[in-house]
């Protein structure tokens, strides 16, 4: 019995939970000022998140999946990507979307139940969020294949949850990516839970990063609550992909501090104690500690940032609440580029009924 193929999975952390440096600082972070944009992005994400939940509570937003505690992953991914790259996100990746230039207004429109929220004014080629768990990685593989065929120095980045790694579509996509050596980076946002199912239910695999072994390309773990590490690991993976060096699977280990969504009550299935422990590890505090210790962040900076974020999200919420819904015919207007006769007839009928209503 001979060993024919050895593999191993690395793990990266750079800033420890207490804010101390625990690994090799990447270039961008040598000067603590380089970390400030990441910190700002995380705080902005959390501000949005809190507002979205508040809007839901008061009946003014639909079901919303909070990303509380996962802000480092989104901020790190967005920093790693170039504008011309394409993000193919899951529903909880609000942070990455904000970083990509999707506006808080658009996000509120979407979660408020209006399709126009996915007509992103910024990243025009980014995909809308996938509500279907783990069915979107093939889209990212297709996007990456288009880039490869056209020999463009662009990269597709797909984000998905720990639960989504149990889906066949996820596997087919990474397997194809390995076979075709596509410019694709897949980031598993392992927040330990998939609704009520803890990580252990999803797979007997010791790490989720090792799923890449099945596809023949590198996989690695990163402390998903360490935004510096996430940004670093993701940047390296994205740049490898851009250089034609193939796909990477990244497992960002984080924790879902909130309920699954605004219509879930996580106390039914998980211990408060676990959540409390996880709070000690959350991503924003550690970077604040790091920046403060480095003398790069003051109380005034903090207050300024919070006020700025609150003001931005306030404006977005106002704009969202002031935007009237679409008329009934909107349902038919983007079904096809040209409306076939049956659709046209139904559209007219719906409009007639609409008038009758008024």
């Amino acid at each position: 019995m001979a060993t024919v193929a050895p593999f191993d999975i690395p793990y990266t952390r750079i800033i420890a939970p207490d804010g101390s440096v625990d690994g090799d600082l990447p270039d961008f972070a040598r000067d603590p000022a380089g970390v400030i944009p990441l910190y700002r992005a995380m705080v902005r994400t959390r501000t949005f998140d809190a507002r979205a939940i508040a809007l839901h509570r008061t009946g003014r937003l639909g079901t919303y999946p909070s990303g509380l505690g996962q802000e480092a992953v989104g901020a790190g991914i967005a920093q790693a990507m170039q504008a011309e790259d394409v993000l193919v996100p899951a529903y909880r990746d609000t942070g990455a979307q904000l970083g990509r230039g999707v506006t808080p207004f658009e996000l509120l429109m979407y979660w408020g139940g209006d399709e126009r929220g996915s007509d992103y004014s910024g990243p025009r080629r980014d995909f809308p969020v996938s509500i279907t768990v783990g069915e979107h990685p093939p889209h990212a593989a297709g996007v990456a294949l288009a880039m490869q065929i056209r020999r463009e120095p662009r990269v597709a980045v797909c984000t998905l949850g720990d639960g989504a790694t149990s889906k066949g579509a996820f596997y087919e996509a990474i397997n194809v990516a390995g076979s075709m050596w596509l410019p694709l980076v897949v980031v598993i946002v392992n927040n330990q839970w998939a609704i009520s199912a803890p990580r252990a239910i999803q797979s007997g695999a010791q790490t989720l990063a090792q799923k890449s072994v099945a596809a023949g390309f590198p996989g690695e773990q990163v402390d998903g609550n360490d935004v510096v590490a996430v940004a670093d690991v993701c940047t390296r993976a994205v740049e490898r992909a851009r250089a034609g060096e193939g796909p990477t699977l990244i497992e960002a280990i984080t924790y879902r501090l909130g309920d699954h969504t605004t219509v879930d009550d996580a106390r039914r299935y998980r211990e408060d104690a676990e959540v409390s422990r996880a709070w000690a590890n959350e991503p924003i505090g550690r970077i604040r500690a790091y920046l403060v210790a480095a003398g790069a962040w003051t109380k005034e900076d903090e207050e300024g940032l919070l006020a700025e974020c609150a003001a931005e999200i306030d404006r977005a919420a106002e704009e969202y609440l002031a935007t009237p819904g679409m008329p009934v015919e909107a349902m038919f207007d983007h079904l096809y580029e040209e409306r076939p006769p049956n659709v046209e007839a139904q559209r007219r009928q719906a409009m007639r009924e609409s008038v009758a209503d008024a």
Partner: protein
Amino acid sequence: MPEVTFVQAVNQALMYEMGADERVVVLGEDVAATGGVFRATEGLVERYGADRVIDTPISETAIAGMGIGLAAEGMRPVVEIQFTGFIYPALDQLLNHASRLRNRTRGRLTCPMVLRAAGGGLIKSPEHHSDTPESLLAHVPGLKVVIPSTPAQAYGLLLAAIRDPDPVVVLETSRLYRALREDVPDDGVALPIGMSFVRREGTDLTLVTWGGMVPDVLAVADELAVDGIEAAVIDVASISPLDMGPILESVARTGRCVIVHEAARQAGFGAEIAARLADEGLTSLAAPVTRITGYDAIYPLARLEGRYVPDRRRITAAARKLLEYA
């Protein structure tokens, strides 16, 4: 006897049958620890243990496929697909495998599995949570498809589905889960699969529907009655096998038929009923067979969804229009 909601009736049926038949196992996403996202499976794991109530990974293909393996081995799996919009990755298992196993092996291996899924709109949920894919399933020989509309049907048809020696898909309408209450004796008595229920007698016009649209259609019939128009309401309940008897009989009397469903019109299941009427019932028809359905459009997000699903006004208007025919 306390009244129960639709979702409680589902739960009651599962409780009952797991107690009566130890071959029954429940598996799916979030069915055990949290008792289902709608609480349909609440308390099952506490009562029957983690061997028989199993939280699975998020793997719709494997969930359905494992149901087939369990069933072939003599178990009675009740698998849950959390929402109808996530049934599609399980379709290969349903169409190519579950429905065909008995025929392929000339009865040597069979597939007594149940697949439950919640769907239908108007609960302001995210995309893909409101699908009504019943006509896809009704096209598959070897499957049965039931769509209960009341707590009593939810109980009785689910029991029947579990006891059925063949694969049955049970489509539950999430907006009905807590909307209705009625007395449902927990007596283990099943309702027959393959039977249309006459929910209201009437001689002027026949309204045919199922599942989530039934309450609205009954309400329309009540409204019409105020004007002296007596509409029969037929709740198809099992779309496969389809029991056309009561529909044909009623239309023989009324000559007028409106079929109401929430799914898109084109190639929706209403077409099958209309086609049967155009064949077996043609001589009875005094007016065009009308379908009031969801539009042939993508089910919209929450702000517009109320305009997608047929509402009472659309149904009433169609009914009144049919009465204009001599």
